[in-house]
Amino acid sequence: MKQNKVIIIGGGSAGLACAIALREKGIQDILLLEKENELGGILNQCIHNGFGLHMYKKEYTGPMYAQHHIDRFMELQIPYIIDATVLDISEDKIVTVSEPKGIYSIQAEVIVLAMGARERTRGNIQIPGDRCVGVWTAGNAQKYLNMDGYLVGKRIFILGSGDIGLIMARRLSLAKAKVVGVAEIMPYSNGLTRNIVQCLHDFDIPLYLSHTITQIKGDGRVEGITLCQVDENRQPMFETAKHFGVDTVLLSVGLIPDNVLSEKAKVSLDLKTKGPLVDSELMTSTPGIFACGNVLHIHDLVDHVSMEGILVASSIIKYFEDQDSLDLIPVKSKGFLNYVLPQSINPKSDTVLLKYRVSKPMTKGFLRIICNDQVLLKIPKVDLHPSEMQSFNLTKVILDKINSNVIVELSDE
């Protein structure tokens, strides 16, 4: 069987950043596997700008940001294979890959999961109606438009105010399609504020908050939708029904970390993030398997994805130096938090970057780090929004005080 020290699955921003950092730290034996016919991942279809503000203080487009990393990756001559789909990972880290030269297994010492995310579909959210052509996920429509040069429809309604949907509303308007409206089931938008302004307001596209599509109608092709307001339990109020004649419905109702392979490797997943449970080294429940990027949890900014890839590279170096496993300290979330990552602290970590998402918009709140019923830290926070990932660095000074279960709590007082 072939062997590799590190196998990275996925050549998107997470996989690329991790590979580059590993090589820069002196790891020679790396193999990156990418199922598409080019590196770069989802960035290749994001031709808008707004990438790299944090890392480079520049506004790159998606492909430019990706190219930046691909150039460096090539310069370092890191081995990779494209058109190479990983079909299986076993618990003992045997990777099975299919590519045009053959299908074979490779024994890895370390595996990096960097497979990205998939989009939530019509079936996942159960929109009733006809099964006609004209319903796509926003990312799929984006791929048809930006990669292949084809428009999927002329009169479009978008369900979900996630960033991909907002960006597609603008992109489609620029491509001379009519975006009739965007509906969001929550009472607030799920996209970045800058995208609401630049993609909807600037194009006079109405945003229907607390609304959802209750039916799609069409014979062969979508002909129209029914939109209803929802009550506080997110149940449609059918007496508020409005009808729109459209030929296309795009769904931007969330991304789901793509962990089919992780499950095959028996990596434990978090029901909330839908990604692997990781410690502060971003190592999963299977020693030697690490995760970064959208496969771990959904990111709104690519900069954070790249930084996660770099963090995994450092963790791998530590892992190679010392594989003794120490007792992990569980981290739990409390209050108005959707999730906190990592789900445990590894005593090996010198600092720990806590990442979290709030469960509702809040103008102000307080983040508390609690251990043994003692509040170690209380940090005031302002303008918190579920669409924007937050982070906080636990320094050595704080970590030294942590010796049992940590609670991360967000409350409004």
Partner: protein, 475 residues
Amino acid sequence: MFDIIIIGAGIVGCNLAYQLSLTNLKVLVLEKNAEILNEVSSANSGIIHTGYDPKDDTLKALLNVKGAALTKELCEYFQVPFLQCGSMVVAHDDKEIDMLKALQIKAAQRKIPCELLSQEILRQKEPHIADSVIKALFFPTTGVIIPWELGYALMDNACFNGVTLKNSEAVIAVEKKSSYIVKTPKSSYEAKMVINCTGLYGDKVARLAQADYPINLIYKKGEYQVTDKTDASYLNHILFPLPTEKGKGVLAVKTVEGNLLFGPNSNIVEDPTHQDTTSIGLAEVNSRIHEIIKPLPQNRMIRQFAGIRPGSPTKDFIIENHEKWVNVIGIDSPGLASSPAIAQYVIEQFVQPEFHPETLNRELYIHPKPLLLMSLDERNALIKTNPNYGKIVCLCEDVSTQEVINAIHSPCSTRSIKGIKRRVRPGSGRCQGGFCESKIVDILSKELNIPKQQVLYDNDNTSFLTPMEDLYETK
């Protein structure tokens, strides 16, 4: 001039085409849709019922018992999957236990193996059965198939043996002379005998030949939920509530592919053309399924769909011949399980007396086995012959580029995204085509030598792409 024209390529038409292709008769199949098997035969539970349910002395009772045995043989012969997982009919109280006992007697008369299970045994066999269930009648021979896999195998072989299949040709008029002239918008065809097996449109097509044909079909819609494959091991059998006048009830089916299917409910509809799901119907399925199973730990539905049953007023299949015009009408459940026997019955009763055909020895066409079911060595051997076997288009279902190409060029050909999805599964997994649909468009466009804007989603008039350059063209 054809000997026989078959109108409609559902599972009944496919069985007929195949069985007739083993004779020296000249056969034409006319199908209105761009893809065969795109109506009732693709939206059902896929169960090969053993035949305990239909009333005595009905065609349904006769043909279901026979058809179930034939279906299993056909699946083995064509090497398409037949999952004999067995089924249980469950009871919640004493009255229902009495009904189970009555079913048990009927099954014994029809020589269908079955066994009454105690509370303890049934929970061992099926740990996630609902707490309210107290007894079950177990039918070990019930099976489940992928209806279109069997249908495509039948039609591939029919075409391979020389049957002519014309897709996208709806029969709109019929003229009777000494023979029949059957007209479609594109052409007209002549045959000595016509077999009408048009599913939901059976009564209307019958009226093309006989204006005063009296029967009107009754349409009953059934809606379904499909779970993610992760839930495959949640159930070991097909689980039924007790059958009622309305039908077999909301059941839980373990599918061949590994998903679970919940449904169908049953509601009368006026319009057979809209196989739409409704919020009320899906809610009904979501709640009634818990009469037989415990709630899943996570709600991971990947798809909903609906199918419409073409019911007959007599509640039995109607198979009749009037001056060499054969109607095969009212084929609702268990029409799938009965279909090979329906075709056999039509041939024995009406075709043989008329034509006395010769039986010919035909070679078997086997569609290439999915890579998913092969060993790494077998796959490598294929990749050596053609690297496209190594290039995966669909990760969810492990499908290679070459398998899609093979499906496009199979004897009965596939030319739409939905057809490809049925034949080789890309798009039926958890991403529902999010990752692979544009790649399938590429392959279809290349293999059929058409621009992408002409690639069909399923039926004619369902192409969906507009090239950007068309939008910016200035005149």
